[in-house]
Amino acid sequence: MAITQISLFLMNQPGQLVDAVGTISGAGSNIRAMSIAEANDFGILRAIVTDTDKVCDVLKEKYLVTRTPVVAARMDDRHGALYPILEALNENNVNIEYMYAFTGTGPEEAYVVLRVQDPETAEAVLHAAGIETLSDDSLKI
């Protein structure tokens, strides 16, 4: 039930990011969460957006785009809430490639987006530990 993340290949140059965000905005989409990984020459923008299909279609015209299933685990927006999520994954030998977080629309609600090799296994581990995860439908994207 993982959620869909889009990733964009951007050159590490002024103007690239603003143009990409403008394109997403132009498609009428809201960016719920995002992070950037940077290398010397390029960066990878990863984002959770609404209207994923439409955004992908528009972005494809100009950028390299890929979709990746990622796990969005719910946590309370308070200190110490992330720990049990990572603890559960660690105890079950699930390696995290990268992660980033965003706050939810409800009060004191936050999510951590986890990129793992096998999202299904990761979700099963989290569910067994009593941790909720989102789906595209539940996130309304």
Binding site: Q5, S7, F9, L10, M11, A37, A39, N40, D41, F42, I44, R46, K60, Y63, L64, V65, T66, T68, E97, Y98, R115
Partner: protein, 435 residues
């Protein structure tokens, strides 16, 4: 006071040189006609026979040979004698499809080593000298070429080969090397390494360096001379003609004397093939006058040069060629290695990339930098940084295997490589090697 290795030849009157050349070319064309069917066919197609060649004046009647002939005739098609008479091969740094294998008889080795010996003596070498050869030994002609010349002069020869700079410095300082032979970029590198180890230019015993195998500038010469406290001499050659020593500088440092008793030089218009008058810029063409095993006639070097026949104050009477000012093909010389953009394209296609790439060459600390920018395609893109970096590393390694020299690969977004008039700009050379 100028010294010569073979004064009777090096300072011979022009008429004497012409006489030697005339005699040798008649014999050489006959030798090639009799022994190299590949070239005989080219001559027949052009309607020329050995009877038409009475001296160097008639060389212009002969057909050209180019790199593609060498490729077509690989490996034995241009061999001028029985293999049993050959004692060695050397090969160019070029790779698949472009490799040239040159054969040598003992006579060919001898005349080549005479040429490098002349260069060493012109740089001030005597039997008192300690010559440190850090050109690569092996298939590359640089190491053995200078090594043989150094023996002929009677110098103590340090057969270091290239690399392992700490060891180079240790031998240089401990054994008091007086003449350094390597690529100019390596000389500059050694100079920097010496400074880093706290040595001043006057701490070493070097007096001269003989540098070649790659393009270099006057600025670089001055830089090396200052760093090492030496006089830096240029040397030119190519595997196809034997190796380094086809021409070399004297103390005047104003052009390289061509060993005209062994190699006849012409400058042609690269487009029409027409021979150009002295002083005009064009493609350098060499005819080997007395090599037995690999007797190339009218070989197009693709190097753009000027010949200068005005007398040189060093006393040598042999014609001087300028440093090559460019190429008439797309070959790049990067850190002494010949690279064709088509080789890079072949690797990209084989590794599943689009052929959208750009080669950027620059100089940092007197060493060539070699960067290749490659557009990534949609099916190769991953959200994982580690995956993309792995792709870069693996492409770098495939290119290194193909070229013999490792570029830094940069993956870039589609349609980001500069295009001029719709055509991608394949090579950006910022090294400013030519005027």
């Amino acid at each position: 006071m100028a010294r010569y290795y073979q004064p009777e030849i090096e300072t011979a009157p022009r008429e004497k040189i012409l006489e030697i050349q005339n005699e040798k070319i008649v014999r050489q064309v006959r030798h090639v006609w009799d022994n190299v069917p590949y070239y005989r066919d080219l001559m027949m197609k052009k309607g020329v026979t050995p009877e038409d060649i009475h001296g160097v004046e008639d060389i212009k009647k002969l057909p050209f040979l180019s790199k593609s002939d060498l490729r077509d005739a690989y490996p034995y098609g241009l061999l001028g004698t029985d293999l049993k008479n050959c004692v060695r091969i050397h090969s160019t740094s070029g790779t698949t499809g472009k490799r040239v294998v040159a054969f040598y008889t003992q006579h060919d080795i001898d005349l080549w080593e005479d040429c490098t010996a002349r260069a060493i003596v012109a740089a001030g070498g005597t039997e008192e000298d300690v010559v440190q050869v850090c050109y690569g030994y092996g298939l590359f002609t640089g190491g053995s070429g200078l090594h043989g010349g150094s023996h002929k002069v009677g110098c103590l020869t340090l057969p270091m080969s290239s690399g392992n700079t700490d060891r180079q410095i240790q031998f240089m300082m401990d054994l008091g090397a007086t003449i350094l032979c390597c690529t100019p970029s390596y000389a500059a590198y050694i100079g920097e390494a010496l400074a880093e180890q706290g040595y001043k230019p006057e701490d070493n015993k070097l007096k001269a360096g003989i540098f070649g195998a790659e393009p270099w500038t006057e600025e670089m010469r001055r830089d090396i001379e200052k760093k090492l406290g030496i006089k830096a001499y240029d040397i030119y050659g190519l595997t196809e003609t034997s190796g380094p020593g086809v021409s070399y500088e004297c103390e005047e440092q104003k052009g390289m004397h061509i060993n005209e008793d062994h190699f006849y030089a012409e400058i042609i218009d690269p487009d029409t093939g027409e021979v150009l008058p002295d002083g005009e810029k064009g493609e350098l063409v060499f005819t080997s006058l007395d090599k037995e095993a690999f007797p190339l006639l009218r070989y197009r070097t693709r190097d753009i040069c000027v010949l200068n026949r005005t007398p040189c104050s060093c006393g040598r009477t042999h014609v001087r060629m300028s440093k090559p000012m460019g190429r008439s093909d797309d070959m790049l010389i990067i850190r002494g290695v010949n690279v064709f953009p088509s080789q890079i394209e072949a690797v990209l296609l084989k590794e599943g990339y689009t052929p959208n790439y750009q080669i950027v060459l620059d100089r940092e600390r007197n060493t060539d930098t070699f960067d290749v920018y490659v557009e990534v395609s949609a099916d190769q893109f991953s959200d994982l940084m580690s995956q993309i970096q792995k792709m870069e590393k693996s492409l770098e390694s495939a290119l290194r295997t193909m070229l013999g020299i490792g570029p830094k690969v940069h993956l870039v977004a589609p349609k980001t490589i500069t295009r001029s008039e719709g055509k991608a700009v394949r090579v950006v050379d910022k090294r400013k090697l030519h005027d």
